[in-house]
Subunit: 359 residues, 2 copies
């Protein structure tokens, strides 16, 4: 049967002050009226039903996650005792799923990306599932054709085609870590590289077998967990086993080592919404080059990204350029829009200045 | 007896978004925990009692003015039916005062200036009153020794000394309108010019007589008003007479024409708090050159004027310079700090953009 696993453990600070520790990016309405996890839940709904949709998150966000997804069975929210990167996260979901559906195929995707249009995404997932149907050992990744030499993503180099050329499915020739600008430019120019967008399709038993082969210590603990599914001591076993797993991404743990890894060119539009700059791509610009979300009035204000999270709170600007201005009920940010390092430093400064409660 | 008249009809927009139509500058706590009119009321308290303190304001602000000054008899708030500049304002106060105290001496001062220290101000007012005591026809102004060639003030040129040189009292040789920068520089260099700070001491009957001489049409209506003080039709008479008076400042109407005008050098510190820039003078700067009032956290933020009117609302800034950032519960301003013209244009834009309710 078809299952979907939504990875929702993120806790970044790149959308401060809108994002907070207890309300990270995926629980915010960054790109429309719904929150990103609500959009993600809706995105997988045509592919599988809520009973076979799983969300992996952490204790601080579990309650809000369940609140935002009223159609999801509460028990399908899997709560990690601590963050251990994507390999243990996916392993946890896989053991939970195989316990009731040994033949399960898993779609794995992050909760905080923008993907459009919905039907193109669904068709793409079905094509990936068809590959897994043909070859039960296949580990299928989606690769996004880069539209710029971005240095913030890992790249996938494609190899020989799988099946018909029109399928745009390939063996993976190599994984490339986040490159420098010049290297990224050669990747883009070659036409053979994709961004790794962290969306996967495989059989649940297959990913567990791959973990057994490449990360046996993790797999050993997953096996203990697997034995506890449905038992009254499940939570206690999870709390004792999970924190002892190595913190490692599924890419390092499995994909860069395993045989049978395939990349399917993503036919959908994809945006990881990695910073406030993403709003420019998602919302566009007005005649003054401003990207606006919320009540705004400007005079000689250009190239600004302006967000007011309160539809009744006005932001007004005069004679300013290239700023990010974000208003939330208890904190306002004003920053240079190209200064992501400055924003990170500001977050550190907040903690150091006794403003921890605003994080 | 000694009376004080606080002119509180201002309705500027230079402190938007903190100032609003119904809450202009004098009703705001711009320079400390109390509002400016509360500070002004406290400033005159050592000189006269609340029963002889008068506030002239307008209908939109009367209620809040009375609320902020609980020790002031409510009837001592005189409500202008419309704005007619300072000559009718002072004339209205004078007729109200002489009705019960024909020998009254009036101190007249704006509600929205910062004056310090309090005891020096009180002594200065007593010296001005002593001049009026010696010469019942005297019209005494305070002149502020300029510390910069400001072009936003009228200047007073002093003439022959009155009394001992140590008294720093002079005949007024001439009034000079707001000068250009070069002229202002010659004024400052000469040592003979003062800023006209709009603070006056005179006998109530004397200013009425001067109005009779120089603005007989205004005086005629004031005489009608004078006859109605204490009568049941006072309000009706005020509503019919006041709007018909010429709108003119006391400077143009009387001071530039009358004999016996004296200037007393102000021994106190004075600031008209004319724009957000004034906060820099009043509150100082921190090591990064920022002027802060409210919770703030900055990284590479320099030369900014930052105000949060809510002690629980944090303003955070990264990589920005020379901005004004003002947060109020329903509106936030971000503007270049040296761009007062831009702020005026923004106010006009607000009205034109359907954001009138924020003014």
């Amino acid at each position: 049967m078809q299952h979907a696993v939504i990875m929702a453990g993120g806790s970044g600070t790149r959308f401060w002050p809108q994002s907070r520790r207890t309300r990270p990016k995926q629980l915010l309405p960054l790109a429309g009226p719904q929150t990103m996890i609500q959009d993600t839940f809706a995105r997988v709904a045509p592919w599988t039903e809520p009973a076979r949709t799983w969300v992996v998150t952490n204790a601080a966000q579990a309650e809000e996650t369940r609140r935002q997804l009223p159609d999801l069975p509460p028990g399908n929210v899997l709560v990690e005792p601590c963050g251990r990167n994507t390999a243990p996260c996916i392993g946890l979901a896989a053991v939970r799923i195989v316990a009731e559906d040994p033949q399960a195929t898993m779609l794995v995707l992050p909760a905080d990306h923008v993907i459009q249009p919905a039907d193109v995404f669904r068709q793409a997932v079905e094509r990936a599932a068809a590959i897994v149907e043909r070859d039960p050992d296949a580990l299928v990744l989606f690769g996004v054709r880069p539209n710029s030499p971005a240095t913030g993503f890992g790249y996938i180099e494609r190899g020989a085609p799988l099946g018909e050329p029109s399928e745009n499915a390939f063996q993976v020739a190599a994984f490339r870590e986040k490159p420098g600008r010049e290297t990224a430019e050669t990747y883009v120019a070659s036409g053979r590289f994709y961004w790794n967008c962290g969306i996967f399709v495989w059989r649940a038993e297959r990913i567990l077998a791959a973990l057994a082969e490449h990360e046996p210590a993790i797999h050993e603990r997953l096996t203990v967990l697997r034995g506890a599914v449905g038992r009254s001591d499940w939570q206690a076993v999870l709390d004792s086993e999970f924190p002892q797993m190595k913190s490692i991404s599924i890419d390092y743990a499995v994909l860069e080592r395993a045989r049978g890894v395939a990349v399917l060119e993503a036919p959908f539009e994809w945006d990881d919404v990695g910073s406030w700059q993403a709003l420019v791509r998602l919302l566009g610009r007005d005649a003054e080059g401003n990207t606006l979300d919320g009540p705004f009035c400007g005079v000689n204000a250009r190239g600004c990204i302006v967000r007011s999270t309160d539809a009744e709170h006005l932001i007004a600007a005069a004679g300013v350029e290239d700023l990010i201005i974000v208003h939330t009920p208890d904190a306002t940010l004003v920053a240079r829009r190209d200064d992501e390092r400055g924003l990170r430093a500001l977050i550190e400064q907040l903690a150091a200045s006794g403003y921890d409660r605003f994080l």
